[in-house]
Each structure stands twice: as structure tokens, then as C-alpha cells.
């Protein structure tokens, strides 16, 4: 009951955030965004035709009406039809979001898991050469641009100048084998880029936890290293680790997939959103940005609830 109240309260505090995100992105992307009127008209349009197209696109409505319309669309999850292709926005998203997830998830999961494992190894050998090697590697990983990694990996793994093991571009996935062929190089690239940041962050968290009094006490009472690691250290490090993972979800879904999708020619939601900005396809933009904002708020709330589950001391106020 207490939990339910807490969740509801959090949901209410999330409303201003969603309003803010939708308002700012509405002003930027829709109000100041590209004008599509003349893309949809033939040559030498009459004033009536122009007025008709503008009405159809909703340009003739006042600002407030258009914004409220947007909010209504967000609540009902009905974003109408794409200006460019005429396809329903809902069906575009239904087609592209699973592709994006399929491309991004393996790299995201592996990047975080390997990050924690490497961080544990480094923290265990703290100050030794293994630690130094891992940390030096992570600074190198942090310093390479994502774009360079993508281009280099494509040359190394998928071109005739390198190993030529995987397809260069595209997404012709009909079986699990196809999936592996297309997803491997993007996954390697995103793991490579994420690993540096993750390892460094997780190591700092774990090292801080290792210095706590209760860990020393447990050690003094003769807890085995494995017991120490999983019961005393890892469990308490979970809060910052969870926070980091949760907060990167919305960003990874849209921003992270954009670069990979546009470079590997994968028809995911990042690419669709980016194309929508450059061509001024407002229904798609509204849907992507609005849903990202909602996702962000949901993540915030789930994160707070997980805090509560992991650490009973966190107050519900």
C-alpha cells in the first residue's frame, strides 16, 4: 500500500517533466522545424492548394491548439500518419523499435556485464599491474571516438581489406544465423566504446565499497573472498550500478542506436527519428520525442522503486 502511494506520488511528479520535454521539443522541432508545405505541393500551386496543405499539416492552427493536440496524441498513443511516407506512425514504430532493440541490447548487456567483471578484477588486484593494465585500457577505450570504432571495425571485420567475415551493411534478418551475422560487428563496436566508461565507473564504486567498515568486519570474522564479494560488496554497490544502467536505457535506445543504424544502414528507430528531423516529418518526431520523455520518467520511477528494494533505508517520503 505504502509502495503504491509512493509510486503514484512519483508518477505525479513526473508530469511536469513530461510537459517540459514535450513543450521544448515541440517549440524546437515542430514550431521552428522545417516547413513541409512545398514538399507536398506540385509546381505552381494556387493559393487555395497551399492553404489546403497547410490546413492538412495543421500549420494554420494557433500554437496552443497544436501543442494541446500533441499532448492528446501522446495520451492516446495515436500519432496519425507520417508526412513523408503516409504510413501510420504507430506501425512505423512497431516495425523499427524491435529492430533497434535487437541491435542495441546485446551490446548494452555485454558492455555492462563485462564492465562489472573487469571492475571487480581490477578492484581485487587494486594497485597491482593487472589493475593498472585494466585502467589504462579503459582510458584508451574512453578516448576513442565511437565513430572511429565503427568505421575501423567495419573495415576490419566486414571489408575485403580486413577479415571480410560479416556483411557490410543492411539488415536482412530471417533466421537466428542471419541475426548473428548482422548484429556482431555493431555489438563489438558498442561494447568496445561502452567498456572503458563502465569499467572505470564500476571500479570506483566497488573500491569505495571495499573500504567500508562492514566489509572489514566481515573479513575479520573470516568471511571467504567470494562471500565478501557477493554478499558485502556487490550487493551494496548495486544502487549506483542500477542507477547508471537505468539512466542509460533511454539514451541508448535513441541516441546510441542512431549512429550505428545510420552507419550500418539498419532500419531502426534512431534512423527514422533522425531522418524525420532533417525532412521535417513532424508526426514521427512528436512520437519519438514524446515517448522518450515518458520512458525517461518511467525509468526515474522504476529506479526509485528499485532503490527501495535494494536498500531498505531509503525513505519513501
Amino acid at each position: 500500500m505504502e509502495m503504491l502511494q509512493y509510486t503514484l506520488r512519483k508518477l505525479i511528479t513526473g508530469i511536469p517533466l513530461v510537459l517540459g520535454v514535450t513543450l521544448i521539443s515541440f517549440v524546437l522541432m515542430v514550431y521552428f522545424g522545417p516547413d513541409k508545405t512545398y514538399d507536398l505541393l506540385g509546381k505552381n500551386p494556387t493559393p487555395e492548394e497551399i492553404a489546403q496543405v497547410r490546413h492538412q499539416l495543421g500549420y494554420d492552427q494557433p500554437f496552443v491548439v497544436r501543442y494541446l493536440d500533441y499532448l492528446r496524441e501522446l495520451v492516446t498513443l495515436d500519432f496519425g500518419y507520417s508526412d513523408s511516407s503516409g504510413e501510420r506512425v504507430g506501425s512505423i514504430l512497431k516495425r523499427t523499435i524491435p529492430v533497434s532493440l535487437a541491435v542495441i541490447l546485446p551490446g548494452f548487456i555485454l558492455g555492462n556485464l563485462l564492465g562489472v567483471v573487469l571492475a571487480l578484477v581490477a578492484a581485487y588486484h587494486r594497485g597491482g599491474w593487472i589493475d593498472k593494465l585494466i585502467m589504462a585500457g579503459s582510458v584508451v577505450g574512453m578516448s576513442v571516438s565511437f565513430l572511429i570504432v565503427i568505421i575501423a571495425f567495419q573495415v576490419i571485420f566486414s571489408s575485403s581489406y580486413g577479415l571480410n567475415w560479416f556483411p557490410v551493411l543492411g539488415w536482412d534478418v530471417y533466421s537466428f544465423w542471419d541475426y548473428l551475422r548482422y548484429v556482431t560487428v555493431p555489438t563489438l563496436a558498442s561494447v568496445f566504446v561502452a567498456l572503458g566508461y563502465n569499467t572505470r565507473f564500476y571500479r570506483a564504486v566497488i573500491v569505495e565499497e571495499m573500504g567500508r567498515d562492514h566489509v572489514r568486519t566481515a573479513r575479520a570474522y573470516g568471511a571467504s573472498p567470494a562471500e565478501l564479494l557477493f554478499k558485502s560488496i556487490l550487493k551494496n554497490s548495486l544502487i549506483p550500478i542500477i542507477t547508471r544502467i537505468m539512466f542509460s536505457i533511454p539514451l541508448v535506445v535513441v541516441s546510441g542506436s542512431l549512429l550505428i543504424e545510420s552507419y550500418f544502414g539498419i532500419p531502426g528507430v534512431g534512423k527514422v527519428a533522425f531522418d524525420a528531423i532533417t525532412t521535417g516529418d513532424q508526426p514521427i518526431l512528436k512520437a519519438v520525442v514524446g515517448l522518450t520523455a515518458v520512458l525517461f520518467v518511467v525509468v526515474l520511477i522504476i529506479n526509485d522503486i528499485l532503490y527501495k528494494v535494494v536498500d531498505p533505508r531509503v525513505s519513501l517520503k
Binding site: 517533466l17 521552428f32 582510458v139 565511437f146 572511429i148 549512429l259
Partner: protein
């Protein structure tokens, strides 16, 4: 009271001048003895000199001349060869150093100022409406996907060559502001703030003269982190066609090299990547050394 003060100052000055122990003098000492930190600073300084030289017109001026042969191999005339339209790759990489510093400095300075100011206000008035407003703004800016935000700003400010800079400043200040806010909340309960308030120092003087200077170590470290972030983002934004509009940058070089790479000519790609990598790596290490020196509580 002023009489007593002067007397005291004279007495101290008469004594043997002693090195004053402060956060900064200790940090300087620690940094000077950090070998990696000094090396990375030297590399960053070298890049800085290259950038200054370009800015002063000493070198890298032939970056746009396309009078060479296409894809020439490295030679005494074209040190690192030429690109697809016969431009000197080495000159372009050198000129791009200036672009990178421009982007990094503008974004780092502006977002640090913005983050420092708003973070300090938000922390000082914590749990009041000003704080709520700033926190809300930060939450909103953080939840808009970065590349979409930049693309939208680029369109909204269509034709404005610094749209990318504006977008980065608007998104990068929030991290700084959050850190400063936390520190200010801690600082405002200290005795020196209470003392200042007790003798009637105005609120804004307290914030900007007494509290904000005590967060300078955070601002400095954050500025180096933002600098690196800005340079790295520039590369990706330029590749997406949202980046540098006038001149050339490593990002633009990498973007144009994607076609060359498919034809087996790697010089453009490798040159731009190497220039970028070395600078970012050195700056990352410099930033680390700075953090080690300035944060006595940092876990090693």
C-alpha cells in the same frame, strides 16, 4: 578594527615568508609530481601551440587548396598524402586542431559558467521555488535525446554556424550544475557563511563572493571533462552533417573518409583519428591528474 588588522599584517610580513598551505598550493605540488599528469599536460600544450599557430596564420593555411593529385601517397610535398579531391591531409589535420580547440573552449567555458551560476543558485535556495525550477529545467534537458536535440536546434537556428555550440552548451551545463548544487548545499551550512550572514552581507554577495569560489576545483575539473566531451561530440555531429559549418574539422575529415575507406585509402581516416585520439587521451589523463590533485577524498 582596521588598525588591529594592519598591525597584524605587518607583524606577519616581518616574519620569514612561509608557503601558505591551501587546497591550490597542495594541488599544484601534487600535480607537479604526477608524471602522467605532466606528460599529458605537455601534449595538450603542444596541441594548444599548434592551434594558436593556425589561429595566427603561421601554418595549416593551405587546408582548402585542392591543387594536388587525387589520393597522392605521402611525400615531401604532401606529408601524409592527399584526399579524394587532392587536398593536403596533413594541413587539414593541423587546421582542424584549431577547430577542435575552438569548439572545446567555447563549450567548456560557457557551459561551466552557466552550470556554476545556476548550480550555485539552485544549491543556495535548495527546496525553494528557484531550486525546483532549475532542477526541472535540468531534468527536461537531460531527457531529450542529445542528437535529436542538436539536430532540432540546428534547424531552429538554420543558417547560424554556431548552432552546434549552442546545443552543446545547453546540454552540457547540467552535469556541472548538479555537482555544484551538491557542493553548495554542503557549503552553505558552514560557519563562514553563517558569519557572513550574521554581519549582514547581502545574499548574492554570499553566493558569488563566498560560496562559489569554494567550488572552483569542481568547475575546473568539470571544464576539462566538458572540453573532451565537446570535441568527441563534434566528430559525431559533423559526421551526421550537424557539426562545423565553416572550415574543416577531424569530424568532417572522418566523414569524408568513409567513402575513401571503402576504396582502400586510409590516410585521411587514420590521420584524423590519430590526431583526435591523442588529444582526447591526453586531455582525459590531464583531467584525471587534475582530479587526483584537487580531490583529497578521491578513492584511488
Amino acid at each position: 578594527m582596521s588598525q588591529a588588522n594592519t598591525g597584524c599584517a605587518v607583524e606577519v610580513a616581518a616574519e620569514e615568508p612561509r608557503a601558505r598551505e591551501s587546497l591550490w598550493s597542495k594541488a599544484l605540488y601534487k600535480f607537479m609530481h604526477d608524471r602522467m599528469g605532466m606528460w599529458s599536460l605537455a601534449v595538450v600544450a603542444l596541441y594548444g601551440i599548434i592551434a594558436l599557430g593556425v589561429w595566427a596564420g603561421l601554418w595549416g593555411q593551405g587546408w582548402s587548396a585542392n591543387d594536388g593529385p587525387m589520393w597522392a601517397p605521402p611525400s615531401s610535398e604532401y606529408w601524409l598524402g592527399t584526399n579524394i579531391i587532392g587536398q593536403d591531409i596533413f594541413q587539414r589535420a593541423i587546421f582542424s586542431t584549431k577547430t577542435a580547440f575552438e569548439v572545446g573552449l567555447v563549450v567548456a567555458v560557457l557551459s561551466t559558467i552557466l552550470g556554476g551560476l545556476l548550480g550555485a543558485l539552485s544549491g543556495f535556495f535548495s527546496n525553494r521555488w528557484a531550486d525546483e525550477l532549475i532542477l526541472w529545467l535540468m531534468g527536461v534537458l537531460d531527457s531529450i535525446p542529445f542528437y535529436l536535440f542538436v539536430a532540432a536546434i540546428a534547424f531552429a537556428l538554420s543558417g547560424f554556424p554556431y548552432a552546434m555550440h549552442v546545443a552543446m552548451v545547453l546540454t552540457f551545463w547540467t552535469a556541472t550544475a548538479r555537482l555544484v548544487r551538491g557542493e553548495v548545499i554542503k557549503l552553505k551550512n558552514f560557519e563562514f557563511v553563517e558569519a557572513a550572514r550574521a554581519i549582514g552581507v547581502p545574499q548574492f554577495t554570499i553566493i558569488f563572493r563566498h560560496i562559489l569560489p569554494n567550488t572552483f576545483h569542481i568547475l575546473l575539473v568539470q571544464a576539462t571533462i566538458v572540453f573532451v566531451g565537446a570535441i568527441k561530440s563534434e566528430v559525431i555531429l559533423s559526421f551526421l552533417g550537424l557539426g562545423v559549418k565553416n572550415g574543416v574539422s577531424w569530424g568532417l575529415m572522418i566523414a569524408e573518409s568513409t567513402q575513401e575507406v571503402q576504396a582502400g585509402h586510409f590516410s585521411n581516416f587514420i590521420t584524423a583519428s590519430a590526431f583526435l585520439f591523442v588529444l582526447v587521451m591526453a586531455f582525459n589523463m590531464f583531467s584525471d591528474a587534475l582530479q587526483d590533485a584537487l580531490d583529497p577524498k578521491k578513492v584511488q
